[in-house]
């Protein structure tokens, strides 16, 4: 069902700003994710560029009012191309004391904090760890504070809907949404339509939410907030149809698309794990595409079932996060030995061990490269923005099918849950990634003289092996994880063959470098003093930081990798071109280690392992420091 609508004009009575970063924070039960998403969609539909950062607690539902129950959603909206959800928010919406306690430190100096003052009673203050009411001492000095008794106003406004008083205050997030919608001159229609669709089944609740939303809007209009209205013009965007999409949905759709483009049924074998489960959920909805999803008993069975399906000729995928990748590593090693296509999706999260399951991190790169016994190389693709997960998924599938190899696709919790506007591609422009199966014998048995199929006969160009599907007459063959003779695939323990096979498997993966784009350098490509090299979700922060630094007159270039193994063919040459190379990573320096070892360049790490993404300011600071470092 589509819902295309023309972009409305902007409102006249508001101060025009070029961007704003808003953070909604409240109790887990307060519906802050919903509020944030609705505001995002309204802004997207309006035509702004934007990027979001949901930030929710690990608990399913922590006790109300506690700090660890705080759920937040940050969004940046702008009239220009942006790539990240912003550093410090300029507006913070706090639904209760715990939200204020946990989030205030993020607000930029002089920023606006909108507080639901009704909730600042003794009980809630204590739960949030306050011994004094922060609204009554000077702890908020330095910020612009807007106190709104949202709970009582909401209750009041929804009276006529007929919902029970107990339930009435549930609509207070829509009150807040209405208020912020007014403040930023967002159109109301999209949200109203959405409320009707979403809550249509329960008319009372639907009406309550509509009333609260309108009341919030009206509150802005009619109160002293008059001086606080802003408008942000639509961003100049390529013409086309857009949708707002998060990384996991984009990734799942990329897999659906890959199946169509490969003309193969998709098979997902998976075990639920945060933050990857949503891909399983999404794919399980699309059975009409012939997609099979099997929720396996564990991660090993997740990849095992996928590998079985791959043997059967399907586009096989397994999705997980770090702990699951660790568990799957033995089977990945088998897939490498079998040389069967298989995509392993790792939505990275904070580690080690259970770590920070709901927080983001990018510390699985080294495991992706080396986390298997023996010489077991495989290609690695990484996505760098929510919507780009769509392309990354297709690319991972393309490589897997073409080279008959497992491929690791890296995303992370930030990309998974963050969203941005996406220009929906015309499906006819998507690449054909179909492959061919063997239909005829490719060998004559030396002793019997009978035609037969040798599974390890290779394409001389790609080194991909011949792939014959069970069910094909005359091509019966056996494959296995013991070292095998190249060509015949029969078990072989000879030193020569083992050495040859180790080299061949490595050469096959290395050869993919010929089949991927060279890495592009942006910014001061010709004469930069420093190159910022990145991969994964750091992209947004890096782009902004480099832009700002260049605006400040510094000579900085930027390159971002989507292929981590093999590297683009020109990477060594690119790195050697610049006196300094800086690598911001949400780990302790994985990519830096890889390029140092490979190219012997003194790439320096800016490390951030805090469960939260880089801000552009942090990258900027690192660039400045590195530029100043004496060589």
């Amino acid at each position: 069902m589509t819902d295309v609508q023309a972009r409305p004009g902007t409102s006249g009575d508001a101060e025009q700003v070029d961007h704003v970063v808003i953070r909604f924070a409240g109790d887990s039960g307060d519906g802050m994710q919903l509020t944030g998403e609705r505001f995002t969609t309204a802004s997207a539909v309006f035509g702004n560029d934007l990027a979001t950062l949901p930030d929710f607690p690990a608990e399913i539902r922590a006790p109300t009012g506690t700090i660890f129950g705080v759920s937040a959603f940050q969004v940046q909206i702008a009239d220009h191309d942006i790539t990240n959800p912003g550093d410090a928010p300029s507006v913070l919406v706090c639904m209760n004391p715990a939200a204020l306690a946990s989030e205030l430190h993020r607000l930029e100096p002089g920023g606006t904090v909108i507080v639901n003052s009704d909730e600042f009673d003794e009980r809630n203050l204590t739960k949030a760890g306050y011994t004094e009411n922060p609204l009554e001492n000077d702890s908020l000095a330095g910020y612009k504070v807007i106190l709104v008794p949202m709970t009582s106003l909401t209750k009041e406004s929804v009276k006529e809907s007929g919902v029970k008083p107990r339930d009435a205050e549930r609509s207070k997030n829509f009150f807040a949404l209405g208020l912020v919608t007014w403040m930023y001159t967002r159109p109301l229609d999209a949200t109203l339509t959405w409320i009707k669709e979403r809550f249509g089944k329960n008319e009372m609740v639907m009406n309550a939410n509509i009333m609260a939303f309108k009341a919030g809007h009206a509150y802005g209009e009619t109160t002293e907030l008059a001086g606080n209205r802003y408008s942000i013009k639509p961003a100049p965007q390529t013409a086309g149809v857009y949708t707002s999409i998060n990384g996991n949905t984009a990734l799942a759709w990329g897999l659906v698309a890959a199946g169509q483009l490969a003309k193969l049924p998709v098979f997902l074998g998976s075990y639920p794990i945060t933050p990857a489960s949503d891909i399983l959920h999404e794919l399980s909805k699309h059975k009409s595409f012939g997609i099979r999803t099997l929720q396996a008993e564990d991660e090993i069975a997740g990849i095992g079932t996928a590998l079985g399906a791959a043997f059967g000729g399907q586009l096989a995928v397994t999705t997980t996060s770090g702990p699951g990748v660790a568990l799957k590593s033995e089977t990945m090693s088998l897939a490498i030995s079998l040389e069967l296509p298989l995509v392993i999706v790792d939505i990275q999260r904070g580690g080690p061990s259970t770590g920070l399951p709901t927080k983001t991190e990018a510390a699985d790169l080294m495991m992706a490269m080396y986390g298997r016994h023996g010489e077991a190389p495989l290609p690695i693709v990484a996505s760098f923005s929510p919507s780009q997960c769509f392309d990354a998924a297709i690319e991972a599938c393309r490589i897997a099918l073409k080279y008959r190899t497992p491929v690791i696709l890296l995303s992370d919790g930030y990309l998974a849950n963050g969203s941005e506007p996406w220009l929906i591609p015309d499906v006819s422009t998507l690449p054909d990634i179909s492959t061919t199966f063997a239909t005829e014998p490719n060998h004559v048995n030396e002793t019997t003289g009978e035609p037969e199929h040798w599974p390890y006969v290779r394409d001389p160009e790609t080194l991909a092996r011949s792939w014959a599907l069970p069910g094909t007459p005359g091509l019966m063959h056996r494959i296995g994880g013991i070292e095998k003779e190249d060509g015949s695939g029969n078990i072989s323990y000879t030193p020569e063959n083992h050495s040859h096979m180790v080299d061949t498997r490595a050469a096959k993966v290395a050869g993919i470098a010929k089949d991927i784009p060279e890495v592009a350098v942006t910014g001061d490509a010709a004469d930069a003093d420093l190159l910022v090299l990145g991969w994964g979700s750091t992209w947004g922060a890096i782009v902004t930081a480099v832009d700002r630094q260049r605006a400040k007159g510094r000579k900085v270039a930027q390159a971002h990798l989507t292929h981590l193994n093999p590297f683009p063919a020109n990477l060594g040459e690119v790195l050697r071109r610049y006196p300094k190379v800086l690598v911001p990573e949400m780990n302790t320096g994985h990519l830096a280690k890889l390029v140092r070892a490979e190219f012997l360049v003194d790439a320096r790490t800016v490390s951030k392992v805090r469960g939260v993404p880089f801000t552009a300011a942090e990258v900027e600071a690192a660039i400045e420091a590195e530029l100043e470092r004496k060589l």
Binding site: D3, T243, F267, K287, L294, A301, T305, T447
Partner: protein, 339 residues
């Protein structure tokens, strides 16, 4: 499974060109022979047949069959085979493994494959030892078993493999042994015909590390008195003259009795199709060691929904409901706007 006419084949057609590499005298040979001789009778094509195995001596099996095959990794065959059977319901998927492969490291995949009732024919070669790693006790080795890793005797109470399978909800469970080719073939034929996950335990002699483990049961001289053949709808009787039999008392316990003592009518009639697995489970516990009369045959065979089939039906229903997937429509399925 297929509509194609199945060409006549002979044993030779099912033999691969690989030299068989088990120890001379190993029970695995007789199982291989039984399978290779049976296949031409099953009315199936070689190209639609796949053998999937883990690691172990038993797991070498696929190499010797001129079918499609995968010799995977230790313990994972049931999971891999599940994926294949779900993705490709047109294939006949067999799983072969040892007691270590399928009950130790692979125990979880086995029980989950059984409960899902995926259409697999699972042959477990139970030699009560780890053969390939040269003789450690396995999860079916008897308590007190002295092996390389249990010099003072194993402390691990063994699994009863049939009980594990029944506990997991297996819809087809049978037992046979490597000394009786016709019986093996009958069990395999039945298992193969079963729509769903079929589990067959085969007592197998490892003449190098656990020689003679099943001799008390399987030699010609011992069979009559020590093996209790289970036949659907027939009284459960054994002995040279069928003079012994099994009864169930009202306290819910099974007993071996002299038929003469209780009368023929009191003897339990075997019912492999009983919906609840209780009876099969009780029979699986009739013997607590190889020194007691031990039932062989089909313990349970219950037809119910098969997983891949149910899965295919959901896919068909989804397509029926919303048509074959339309990628462009999917990409436009969230709120959109035009610029």
């Amino acid at each position: 499974m297929t509509d194609v006419q199945v060409p006549l084949t002979s044993r030779k057609d099912w033999q691969s060109d690989q030299e068989v590499r088990w120890c001379p005298g190993c029970g695995d040979y007789s199982i291989l022979t039984a399978v290779q001789l049976l296949m031409p009778d099953l009315g199936v094509n070689r190209e639609n047949t796949v053998f999937v195995s883990g690691i172990g001596c038993a797991a070498r099996f696929p190499y010797y069959m001129n079918t499609y095959g995968m010799h995977s990794i230790h313990g994972r065959a049931p999971a891999i085979a599940t994926g294949l059977a779900v993705a490709r319901p047109d294939l006949d998927v067999w799983v072969v493994g040892g007691d270590g492969d399928l009950l130790s490291i692979g125990g979880n995949h086995l029980i989950h494959a059984l409960r899902r009732n995926v259409n697999l024919t699972i042959l477990m070669f139970n030699n009560q030892i780890y053969g390939l790693t040269k003789g450690q006790f396995s999860p079916t080795s008897a308590l007190g078993k002295v092996t390389k890793s249990s010099p003072m005797g194993s402390l691990d109470a063994p699994f009863n493999p049939l009980a594990v399978a029944l506990g997991a909800g297996a819809t087809f469970v049978a037992r046979t042994h490597d000394m009786d080719r016709p019986h093996m073939q009958e069990m395999m034929r039945r298992a193969h015909a079963h729509k769903g996950a079929a589990f067959v335990e085969i007592f197998q002699n490892c003449n190098v590390f656990n020689d003679g483990q099943f001799e008390t049961l399987t030699t010609r001289a011992n069979r009559d008195d020590m093996l209790i053949p289970l036949e659907h709808g027939q009284p459960v009787r054994f002995g040279k003259e069928k003079e012994k039999g099994v009864i169930i008392s009202s306290d819910g316990a099974a007993h071996i009795v002299n038929v003469a003592d209780v009368g023929e009518d009191a003897i339990l009639i075997h019912d492999e199709a009983r919906p609840e697995p209780g009876l099969a489970f009780m029979l699986a516990h009739l013997a607590s060691s190889v020194n007691e009369p031990t039932p062989v045959g089909v313990f349970r065979a219950v037809e119910t929904t098969e997983y891949a089939d149910a899965n295919a039906k959901q896919l068909a229903a989804a397509q029926e409901r919303s048509g074959a997937g339309d990628l462009s429509a999917l990409l436009h399925s969230l709120p959109t706007w035009e610029v």
